[in-house]
């Protein structure tokens, strides 16, 4: 029975690894689960290593901070692996048996030893070209984190698309209130918010498409964590 999932995200500064973790925790909270997320980074600098952690469970969570034993590891940028831009080396250090690794890549980035160690632990590796998806659907590389989120949810079903949508709106979709000022000002504000709504939709579309692709991958590859949390949110 599902009790807890620990997710570690390694990315580079500016990719939204922190935001992704927060959104996932918010979505889980909306679904009635216990959740906590926190980031770890040094200098707040673009392209510098950044990590974030999400813990989601059906019981109260009694730990916080750095996540040493993850069930799921998500790699947002190939350089985390190829150039070891990471606080954790190797990137899958501490991963639990029957775990899952999702890497934003179109090519296999692992060497023979990595493959052997991960397969000894029965860890599945999902190479998922999230940036390509983000460019195609979200029309911006910045949606990469959304694609990664969708993939994680698609495989594990830790949260559904609806909960993610609510979290996205909660985090970014501030309600538009007429200024009560001039018509020109109101028009400018309406325009700004219309653009924002479009952006939110594009992000949600990216999440949805990625979720579906992840479901297909899961069907074919049968990872140990496949649908591990399916139905938990509802039955909780």
């Amino acid at each position: 029975m599902f009790k807890r999932i620990n997710i570690r995200i390694s990315g580079l500064g500016g990719q939204g690894a922190v935001t992704a973790a927060h959104l996932l925790a918010m979505a889980a909270n909306n679904a009635g689960l216990y959740s906590i997320s926190n980031p770890f980074f040094g200098a707040e600098k673009r392209m510098a290593p950044a990590e974030s952690y999400v813990r989601i469970g059906v019981e109260r969570i009694y730990d916080r901070g750095e996540l040493v034993y993850p069930d799921v590891v998500m790699i947002f940028h190939p350089q985390v692996i190829t150039m070891q831009k990471s606080y954790t080396a190797p990137f899958y250090d501490g991963i639990k048996e029957n775990g899952l690794v999702i890497i934003n890549t179109s090519a296999d980035l692992l060497n023979e030893e990595d493959h052997k160690r991960l397969s000894d632990l029965n860890v599945s590796v999902f190479n998922h070209d999230a940036t390509k998806l983000a460019l195609e659907i979200g029309k911006t590389e910045l949606s990469t984190n959304m694609a990664m989120l969708g993939a994680c949810a698609g495989v594990t079903k830790i949260v559904g698309l609806e909960a993610l949508d609510v979290a996205l709106q909660e985090r970014f979709g501030k309600r538009y209130v007429a200024s009560g000022g001039t018509a020109t000002l109101d028009q400018a504000i309406t325009k700004k918010y219309a653009k924002k709504a479009q952006l939110l939709q594009a992000n949600m579309d990216t999440i949805t498409k990625s979720f579906e692709l992840a479901e297909e991958w899961t069907e074919k590859n049968k990872p140990a964590l496949a649908n591990v949390a399916a139905g938990v949110a509802k039955s909780f």
Binding site: V18, A21, H22, A25, M26, N29, Y34, S35, I36, S37, N38, P39, F40, G42, E44, Y62, D63, R64, G65, E66, V68
Partner: protein, 407 residues
Amino acid sequence: MNINRSNKRMLTGNKAAAWGARLAGVEYVPAFPITPQTEIVETLSQWFAGGTLKGKFTNMDSEHSMFMAAGSAAATGVRVFTASSSQGILYGMESLYTVTGWRVPFVMVNVSRGLATPITLEADHNDVMSTRDCGLIQLHAETCQEILDFVLMGYKIAEHPLVSVPVLVNMDGFVLSFSREPVVIPDEKSARDFLPAFQPAQPVFQASLPMARASAVFGGGTYTYFRIQQDLAVRQAETVFNETAVEFADRFGRHYEPLERFHLDDAEVVFVMSNSFATKGKSAVLRLRKQGVKAGLLKIRMFRPFPDEAVANALKGRAKVAVIDQNLAPGMGGITYPEIVAAMYGRDDCPQKILSVIGGLGGKDIKENDFLSIVEKLNDPESKGPVFLYDEGDWKQFQQMQKIAQL
């Protein structure tokens, strides 16, 4: 109780602090940003700019002016909030001593971060412990909820006529400041009923009414009088905290005591901890209990005034106690250890062993194995403190760093 009228949201510790200030209806915020505190003042600046908060938000040129401005504004009778961290606290130290002596109430948040040198960004309590003797009331938070609640309660305590002293609420950098977890946000009306507008008990500065306050005194007698007054005021805050906590619980359903007792009733082995790492301690207690060890945890929420009676009552008759300090006084050891020992002094039901442990320096994780090693040390009659939580693995990691540095 108005629990159902509250709204539960995923907030970072920083946002929770800002919400506390917002619900308190603060009227003046002097600010100076510093990692990991920035999100607090950033959020407040947006709320002031957008009109959610009425009053004035001012960016200061340093923490020294910032604390001075906080104290001065409070002396004019407005409700003041400010926040800092680490090096900022040290830079403002002169002002902190000064304004606590003025006996003006306000609330400040410290986001704990290790002090230089070496420079770092993560949680460590040497910064907040350096303010231990300033005359501030200190409440230390373990969760994002506690932060919000302590800020609200803090105003009630600080502004109490018998106290009239600033309150410092402490949270750990990163582990709490950037952690997002569910926080119940009280509705504005209940918050206002709990905490009405600030009614200064002392005369306030007004342009039309010239007045001197905090003038120089010569001869130790007068000085001593004021210092004793300050001591009495801060001590009084323990009673006021307890009264405030009852009222807070009535309204919001969450009750706080100066100490939290986690599985303590039948505990033989006790960890004394504070702040966010106490959560890790609780997790270790649950696991140790599964293995048959009667473990428990005493969490210290209030460091000033120091609740020594309560501490002595909580620890009396325990076999073994480990005081885990996330700070270091080089050449002595943990800073809070002597305070715990002093609370037990002269009691015949004193624990057989009280061990000083230093862990979590610079945000270093305290892992489950560390708690096991503390239990081992407690069981070893030869062991002496301070025990540093630093093992073979940590040493290997350091050697690796050395190798990279030499490349």
